[in-house]
Symmetry: C2
Subunit: 108 residues, 2 copies
């Protein structure tokens, strides 16, 4: 699947980040045509200490084409415009990817 990943760095003003995420990023993403699933990951740490990341949000689409269509939609354009200042301020990292999931059937 095509996956659009946004990683938020930890910031001093965590509330501002949370407000933007839940008030702008999330509702715009949920309006994207062709969105198949999404996943919010709340970062709890890293091996040996604290992570510099706060949360990750992943958006899944069937294909590159489906994502391109989503980005050409009104919520898609609004989403990129809203995230751009966060990227420019280096508060988020974002990237596109092709994701391959493998389920594990083996039991403990």
């Amino acid at each position: 699947m095509f996956k659009f990943v946004t990683l938020y760095r930890r910031v001093d003003d965590e509330m501002k980040l949370e407000e933007f995420f839940s008030g702008t990023h999330l509702p715009l993403a949920e309006q994207l045509p062709g969105l198949r699933k999404s996943e919010v990951s709340r970062v709890t740490g890293k091996p040996g200490g604290e992570s510099r990341f706060h949360l990750m949000y992943e958006l899944y689409f069937d294909s590159d084409e489906a994502f391109a269509q989503a980005m050409a939609s009104e919520p898609g354009m609004a989403l990129i415009a809203a995230l751009k200042p966060w990227d420019e301020a280096r508060l988020v990292s974002w990237f596109f990817s092709h994701a391959f999931e493998e389920a594990v059937s083996r039991q403990l």
Copy 2:
């Protein structure tokens, strides 16, 4: 679910990275007790250009406890030991998280 994320940065010697990923990281991860699913994401770019990341590998467990048990296993300890030099060389970023997936039933 508990999710252990490893992000590989792009490097000049991409073959070395791919060899480590497919020859060490992947086979050790697949031996972890309690692993529920995994996902490989091959980074294709970012809005407006090239990403500094090359790939992301995500490992899912039922709980913090299940992950702690996996890390205390022989493949778990070997995995952390194998990844540590990559982290110290700043070639990978890794973090723990609590992941919440949402399926989208809405059609286009």
